[in-house]
């Protein structure tokens, strides 16, 4: 028997075993720290952002806006003689005083109808998503998001009421777009951040519309209709397709 050689062999095997064991332990520690970091990230996100906003909400609101714009356009064509449609002062366009008020009331009714349908359908899709994701729809996070969106919208609504009273109708569409854009930007800190790009786009469109008063209905349709649908589709593609 060659004792020294045998001892060498045993010592060698032992040390390999120890190194391996150390490595395995270390790998496990490493995995635990990664898991912990994942947990932290998830809790921070879940507790500060409302993540159940559905892309379908954007699509449904956009379709409602396009339908509304289409109806408004046909009603305006009904009241306004085609040879005067290049004049955008509304009062000048209408045939007489009483039909001017009829048109105004119809347009306001259409706007309210669009808002209600868009809001209800948008809420429905987001509610459905929050149920399937098992996250609460009404907690301090969603409350913060709603409050931050609502404030610019309320201020904008008051400004637009005043503008209607002053009969500066060409300002209505751009102001809708600008205040809505600011609302999205303000709320983007408390929900999926991509919505801020929709906000920027609405603001730019509104500013362009300010200097091109004749494009009111077109800009309004692009902003509230097309851009909502595009945004909704991108968000659906990015977050919900896999579900």
């Amino acid at each position: 028997m060659d004792w020294p050689k045998l001892w060498m062999k045993i010592w060698w095997n032992q040390s390999i075993y120890l190194t391996l064991k150390h490595k395995v332990l270390f790998m496990q520690e490493n995995q635990t720290s990664l898991d912990a970091l994942q947990d932290i990230k998830q809790m921070m996100e879940r507790s500060s952002r409302f993540i159940s906003l559905s892309g379908w909400s954007g699509i449904s609101a956009g379709l409602a806006a396009l339908a509304g714009a289409f109806i408004a356009n046909s009603r305006m064509a009904h009241y306004i003689p085609s040879n005067q449609q290049s004049d955008y002062s509304l009062r000048g366009m209408a045939v007489n005083q009483s039909s001017y008020y009829d048109l105004l009331i119809e347009l306001i009714a259409i706007a309210i109808g669009v808002f209600v349908i868009a809001f209800v359908t948008a809420f429905f899709f987001t509610y459905r998503r929050s149920v399937s994701k098992n996250t609460p729809i009404w907690n301090s996070v969603s409350q913060r998001m709603v409050w931050n969106a609502l404030l610019p919208i309320l201020v904008g609504g008051i400004v637009i009421l005043r503008v209607l009273y002053l009969e500066s109708y060409t300002l209505v569409a751009p102001l809708c777009l600008i205040f809505y854009g600011l609302a999205l930007l303000n709320a983007s800190k408390y929900t999926l951040g991509e919505i801020r790009w929709l906000g920027y786009a609405q603001i730019v469109l509104g500013l362009i519309n300010l200097w091109n008063p004749g494009w009111g209905l077109v800009c309004w349709s692009i902003g509230f209709g097309v851009m909502h649908i595009v945004y909704g589709f991108i968000m659906w593609w990015k977050y919900e397709r896999a579900d």
């Binding site: 490493n30 720290s33 990664l34 912990a36 970091l37 947990d39 932290i40 507790s47 907690n139 301090s140």
Partner: protein, 99 residues
């Protein structure tokens, strides 16, 4: 170099306490029910972990009322925020150490 494992804070070994601190790092103050909802826990379970964090001086408890219902809110203290940041650094070092 010091062993990174020794720098990990024992208080944050529990996933629940780690979760509570993560939430309080990004929110100024959060009430009991919201914490319970976000962490998906029972009253008793959450309460015992909150007590531990309070005893460590990591969170501050404010008892108030909304109407007649009690409304207890929790805020991370300066010490708690520092301890959490140190814990994060330790986790980071552990991952770097293996690479």
């Amino acid at each position: 170099m010091k062993n990174p494992i020794s720098q990990l804070n024992k208080v944050f070994e529990s996933r629940i306490r780690l979760g509570v601190m993560s939430i309080l790092m990004v929110n100024e103050s959060v009430n009991f029910n919201d914490l319970k909802q976000m962490l998906e826990l029972t009253d008793g379970n959450l309460a015992s972990h909150l007590t531990t964090l309070e005893e460590q001086g990591f969170i501050q408890v404010t008892k108030g009322f909304i109407g007649r219902k009690t409304n207890t809110t929790y805020t991370a203290t300066k010490a708690g925020q520092q301890a959490f940041k140190d814990h994060l650094t330790a986790l980071e070092n552990m991952i770097k150490g293996v690479k």
